[in-house]
């Protein structure tokens, strides 16, 4: 390490770009590593961390691993998963960057991850923690349920498809609401999709229990499946039944199925071809992806002339986001409520994603800082197992592996519109309930606003999640 310092001698002061940086790496006595770190105030340290992170990311994007390594060393002195907000954020971002670097040695990466034990129970727990420690899901449930109740007014048979049936609270609330209907509750059927059978069993148990108490005729159909492999026949949608679909934070992973290199799909072609045509461009070599992606790809659909020559369905013949949405449309739901993260973490370059993710996760970490103690183990779990993993996915992964492809709700609105859905504006009453809930939640940082028929749930001014409701246009 020392030798590294000495080998570089730029005589002019202008060689060091970062004042901060130079200050950082210096110490009166070269022997003790950065003693003055301790003296940094939280704010200065935070600013320092931001700059280091950005610098490091730049190096990583440029491929200068040695430099990146040095900076990682720097950051690790300052960052900590137990520290203040910025320290925690930096810890997870640097881990993600390190993971990304490591992937350039695939063998090494695989070896290091080979003995990881995936604790399903912990993963399930962390989802529950996300539900409990934030209002986002609860507001989404309130909005979703209200949209469903309104759409199902007068219906005697209601079928709901939950694309991620993990939290019984949502449907328990709906059961309660339906039983209070003036015309009495409908016959209710819920089809829950999830990867883990245990989760579905638990959900079935809780919901059946609740339905029995309320004397509502009820059925729960579990479908154990990944969303991308979902067999729509298994959903058993009957013609003519009143169908509602609830999709909470699920659709973005489908974007990973779309090919990164070419998002130029002709929407017209898709529609004309009865939505069965898949456009696929050959997946590019993962390691060169970052360099080759063009900026404008992230800007959503731009019908391009050359996509008329659509390649035949790829060999994998699997879903992409459009075919999935089209298939949903094909079920003719009366209402479909979509909740997604409202941030663009799907930029084509690393830097874009990192910058955007910094803002979003800063807000999320701030939420926790404002409401949960630093010593809380639950907070740590959420930060590490939920946010940390998302950050790692956004930063370190590419191609089909990168599932956390959050995008701004505008993009989703475009896609849904293209797939034949018409926006159903959020009702006054739904907003009222959601607002009242948020007001009573007791943390004034959480805010809500409505724009163009969609609802955004924000922390301070930053919109984090957004909910929209749709019906299938014929």
């Amino acid at each position: 390490m020392e030798s590294m310092f000495q080998e570089e001698g730029s005589s002019s002061v202008t060689s060091s770009p970062l004042q901060f940086f130079s200050m950082m790496s210096l110490s009166p006595s070269m022997g003790s590593p950065y003693p003055w770190h301790r003296e940094l105030k939280s704010e200065e340290r935070g600013l320092c961390l931001i700059h280091l992170l950005l610098t490091c990311a730049n190096h990583v994007a440029a491929g200068s691993l040695e430099n990146a390594n040095t900076i990682l060393e720097q950051i690790s002195q300052l960052a900590s998963p137990d520290g203040d907000t910025m320290q925690r954020i930096a810890a997870y971002f640097t881990e993600a960057l390190a993971d990304r670097i490591l992937k350039t040695w695939p063998g090494l990466h695989r070896a290091l991850n080979s003995t990881r034990i995936v604790m399903v129970s912990e993963e399930i727990l962390v989802q529950k923690l996300f539900f409990e420690f934030f209002p986002f899901l609860k507001v989404a449930y309130i909005l979703t349920n209200q949209a469903i109740v309104e759409a199902m007014e007068g219906e005697k048979m209601v079928h709901i498809i939950d694309l991620n049936a993990a939290e019984p609270a949502q449907w328990i609330a709906l059961l309660q609401a339906l039983s209070a209907r003036p015309e009495g509750p409908p016959h209710l059927r819920i089809t829950g999709v999830h990867q883990q059978k245990e989760v579905l069993d638990q959900m079935a148990h809780k919901l059946i229990e609740e339905a029995e108490k309320l004397d509502i005729p009820f059925q729960f159909n579990p479908v154990v499946s990944k969303l991308e492999n979902l067999d729509f026949d298994k959903l058993r949608v009957k013609t003519g039944e009143a169908l509602a679909i609830s999709s909470i934070l699920q659709l973005h992973s489908l974007l990973a199925l779309d090919d990164d290199a070419s998002r130029r799909k002709s929407p017209l072609l898709l529609k004309n071809s009865n939505a069965t045509h898949l456009h696929k461009v050959l997946l590019m070599n993962q390691s060169t992806l970052g360099d080759l992606l063009e900026k404008d790809m992230v800007n959503g659909y731009s019908p391009s002339p050359d996509s008329a020559s659509s390649s035949p369905a790829s060999s994998t013949a699997s879903m992409n986001s459009e075919s999935f949405l089209n298939a949903l449309w094909g079920l003719s739901p009366k209402v479909m409520v979509v909740t997604e993260q409202d941030s663009n973490h799907n930029g084509s370059t690393l830097m874009e994603r990192l910058l955007e993710a910094l803002y979003s996760y800063a807000a999320l970490f701030d939420c926790l800082e404002s409401t949960v103690s630093r010593a809380s183990m639950e907070r740590l779990k959420i930060e590490k197992m939920l946010f940390g993993e998302e950050i790692k996915n956004i930063i370190a992964c590419e191609g089909a592996e990168r599932k956390e492809r959050h995008e701004k709700m505008d993009k989703w609105i475009q896609r849904l519109d293209l797939s034949g859905f018409g926006n159903v504006p959020v009702s006054y009453y739904a907003m009222l309930q959601a607002r009242r809930f948020l007001q009573s939640y007791g943390c004034e940082g959480y805010r809500m606003r409505e724009e163009n028929g969609s609802v955004m749930i924000c922390w301070q001014d930053r919109s984090l999640f957004s909910t929209t409701a749709w019906r299938s246009r014929k």
Binding site: M4, Q6, E8, S15, P17, E43, E183, A363, S440
Partner: protein, 435 residues
């Protein structure tokens, strides 16, 4: 609870209860009767066939007929059970003129006709509200002026539901409740009323005090007197909202220890007991049920000294943006290198000193081949304060605008560019991998 068949449609809990027809959806077996307005409004519809005396009610007529000492045969009015009757409104343009939307109650149709199509003969003196039906007027007189709801923004309401609706959207209230939240953190059980918190000095008019006592019967545990009358009636109007919120809130409470007192209204006490809510006690619906467990325990204690991460990012971006222009302004090297100088006016002197001391001599021993260009490091102390040029940029940073994806990173990108554009082109030392 055992249920015979899940497909059995919902029946009210005591089975042989006579079901009340839904308004506007009459019993299909009912006999539809169309009365003329004159007959409808006639006060004495029931006429004794013997002496032609008119009575307002059938019961009164029966009583009167007894007095005629009728022989047994003639005493029976009709052998059959009176068929259920449904009445249509005589006004042709009315919805209820259609037999399918007939009303099942004679009194009901009379009142309806008067209210909708009649002349408002009765007027309240206090608020000059007019009524066509005498009983409506009487009912109003009971409550007019007795209960007043005042929002913190100063608007006065006589009706609970309009008051609640207003409050949900009142900006003033939102701000104040935020403030009150912070203040209320100290108090242990203030959660219950924190929702609708107004500042302790009761904006409620004195006339509300009887209201409060009424409230207290509904709300046995009202820890503070700040509780505004938001309870049960609101909930019956907005049944679903409570349901959702209460379920969600209670579901959350299940695993933690905070109290989430449940409501006293019957259906919702069921709800509360069903969910694993510990120590459910009675309380007004709206407020506590929305509470989730981890309601802000540490509201700002740990935050007060430290900037939030969002604020830090903002600051960094501003510095990045401003530094570029600053340096140009100062005639320093163009390829803007980042100057961390003015973190804030509150930067510790120590830090500044250090910056001064360690400035020149040791920079070059940094030893990192960071290809970035000029570092005009010389002029560390830039001046009293960093001109925060980026005010609009700041806003953009936070992605306030829709689709502000690009703009949200504007500031930090500026920061990045202040590092010099040479990063990307660097080929670095050996072992370069394009990542």
């Amino acid at each position: 609870m055992e249920h015979q068949s899940p497909s059995h449609s919902s029946a009210p809990q005591p089975p042989p209860r006579k079901k009340r027809s839904l308004p506007g959806m009459p019993d299909p077996d009912a006999e539809v009767i169309a009365l003329s307005p004159k007959t409808l409004l006639a006060t004495n519809r029931f006429v004794c066939e013997i002496c032609n005396k008119g009575f307002q009610r059938d019961q009164n007529l029966q009583l009167h007929r007894r007095g005629h000492n009728l022989p047994w045969k003639l005493r029976q009015r009709g052998s059959n059970e009176p068929r259920k009757k449904a009445y249509v409104c005589p006004e042709p343009s009315c919805v209820h003129h259609n037999p399918a939307r007939a009303l099942g109650d004679l009194t009901g149709i009379k009142k309806h006709f008067c209210r909708k199509h009649g002349v408002k003969k009765w007027q309240c003196e206090r608020c000059s509200k007019k009524y066509a039906v005498h009983s409506d007027w009487k009912a109003h007189m009971k409550t007019c002026g007795t209960r007043e709801y005042r929002c913190d923004c100063g608007t006065l309401f006589s009706r609970r539901d309009s008051f609640i609706t207003h409050r949900a959207f009142c900006d003033v209230l939102a701000q104040e409740s935020a403030m009150a939240q912070i203040q209320a953190q100290g108090a242990t059980n203030s959660k219950a009323a924190a929702v609708v918190s107004s500042p302790p000095t009761p904006p409620l008019t004195p006339s509300v005090s009887p209201t409060l006592s009424i409230q207290s019967s509904e709300i046995p545990e009202n820890p503070t007197k700040k509780l505004s009358p938001t309870s049960s009636n609101a909930m019956t109007n907005s049944g679903t909202s409570t349901v959702f919120a209460s379920v969600l809130a209670s579901a959350a409470t299940a695993t933690t220890s905070s109290q989430s007192p449940s409501s006293s209204t019957c259906s919702f006490s069921n709800l509360m007991s069903n969910l694993e809510c510990p120590n459910a006690t009675s309380l007004s619906l709206s407020t506590p049920l929305y509470l989730s467990t981890n309601n802000p325990p540490h509201y700002s204690t740990s935050n007060a000294p430290a900037l939030s991460a969002t604020a830090l990012l903002q600051k960094a971006a501003q510095m990045g943006a401003s530094n570029a222009s600053l340096r140009r302004g100062l005639g320093l090297a163009t390829s803007s290198s980042y100057q961390c100088v003015n973190i804030s006016a509150t930067t510790t002197p120590k830090w500044n000193d250090r910056v001064k001391q360690e400035n020149q001599p040791q920079v070059d021993s940094l030893g990192l081949r960071l290809p970035c260009g000029s570092g005009g490091v010389t002029d560390v102390m830039m001046g009293p304060s960093t001109p925060f040029v980026g005010q609009p940029m700041t806003r953009d940073l936070l992605g306030l605008g829709m689709g502000g994806g690009a703009s949200s990173t504007g500031g930090l990108s500026a920061l990045l560019s202040s590092f010099g554009g040479n990063f990307e082109s660097s080929s670095g030392e050996g072992g370069v991998h394009h990542l």
